[in-house]
Symmetry: C2
């Protein structure tokens, strides 16, 4: 396989990264994709940096074993806790989700008040605030850890009108509302599914999904390195998980926005 037709590797702790793949399929339809979901060790969001680094290392080695030309960390937790270290360890372009979304927020916020929601680990890392302040030192960043959102989304409780998810979100979003943020980063790849309910609770606030910004950066990186697949055919997509492939196939559809057909392969990493 020549350099350009090699696949793009995407990984996440589980299902959430499929919201990034959804965007990749829209913007890079001719690329081949290898997705790895670390479902035997999901979630990453409550774990320590040391453990997240160890897991991300294994995830990337798995993708490199499949000859990927670039790696997309489609997990805010892994990106914010481990990307710097991964860039030292591996000689492959690594695109995350944090920096692109932070740049977009810093560019778009008019009142310089930006909210960030994410896992405990993502918020603890301070990665979003760091990138935003580097670009807009005057910006006020309000970051809120939202540990209950991933479990709720995975249970299908993400629609407006669900009193439980609305109540939980109302509490989480209160400090962001109080700060008067005009822009909110959905700093976890599960959160695009909560778009409608967050929009309902924070009317008029610009919502930035990490997947969209990340795809834009990936396109630019592939162009800069002359690594775009020249094929005119639709690319292939292969799914690998470390546990419960049937459940991944069954539940993945709501994240990727279409049915997951074809084999989901279980691997032990």
């Amino acid at each position: 396989m020549d350099n350009k037709s090699r696949p793009i590797g995407v990984f996440d702790s589980g299902l959430g990264g499929l919201t990034v793949v959804k965007k990749l399929l829209e913007h890079l339809p001719n690329e081949n994709i290898i997705y790895f979901g670390d479902t035997a060790r999901v979630p990453y969001g409550d774990r320590s940096r040391e453990t997240i680094v160890r897991y991300a290392d294994g995830d990337i080695r798995f993708l490199l074993g499949h000859g990927v030309k670039a790696v997309c960390i489609a997990c805010n937790t892994a990106d914010s806790m481990a990307r710097t270290e991964m860039e030292k360890r591996f000689d492959v372009p690594i695109i995350g989700v944090v920096e692109p979304a932070a740049r977009m927020a810093a560019g778009l916020s008019e009142n310089r008040k930006i909210g960030v929601i994410g896992t405990k680990a993502t918020v603890k890392s301070g990665a979003y605030a760091r990138v935003i302040r580097a670009l807009a030192p005057e910006a006020e960043v309000t970051s809120v850890p939202c540990p209950l959102l991933c479990p709720l989304v995975e249970e299908g409780r993400f629609l407006p009108g669900d009193e439980v998810v609305e109540s939980v979100l109302r509490d989480y979003l209160a400090p962001i509302k109080a700060a008067g943020a005009d822009t909110l980063i959905l700093g976890c790849t599960h959160y695009p599914l909560l778009y409608d309910v967050i929009e309902k609770l924070l009317p008029g606030v610009r919502l930035i999904s990490s997947g969209f910004a990340s795809t834009e950066t990936l396109v630019k990186t592939l162009d800069r390195l002359d690594l775009r697949n020249p094929s005119k055919k639709p690319g292939s997509i292969s799914f690998y998980v470390s546990d419960a492939p049937e459940r991944f196939a069954e539940n993945g559809g709501m994240f990727i926005g279409r049915e997951i057909t074809g084999k989901v392969e279980k691997v032990t990493i």
Copy 2:
């Protein structure tokens, strides 16, 4: 160390097993205890049998490395999915949480209608229903998977009056209420913290916590094998986790019912 003064090994995927330790400390105050919480891979409740067996195997090997005289699986998921296999693999008394609670429920239920709540894996295993029906073939068992309860409890949302946990529980408990159960097994070691709110929602229903029943079985097993520690001094307790020892020390108190003092050691298994 002689045979009888060797410690009892207790493991769980994370914090929940500490509710079992709480009961052990009450009923076996002179025993030494080694607790292992697999916090780098918690939760087990959504994982496949194959992965749970692999994790339980590692957990027990770790405890055996500390010379334990008996193992208590203080995790309903690991017990229901892996105990039979573990008993084949290891030559040490292994006490679970499922069978003792199921026996107690079968013995106490008057109308022979028994409810079980637990993780997805525990309910899928059918372990509770199997033990209950072996003892009381006429019993009607209504089992409900409750995947949101562990995340809610870990976030401290387990008290009566919390509208989120009450709403989530009202949904989960509806089939059990509809079935007219007079006895409900709290089939996850996190659930004793939900005792008051469940009691509020199911007034008059007998609630059985797996930790209590399990301790009784452990006492009997130690007596039968003549393995009780004859010491009159309070036993020691050592905590090991696979990730984030500080968080374990900080949050463990609400499960074990007293402050966790002393070192919590991090190990990679």
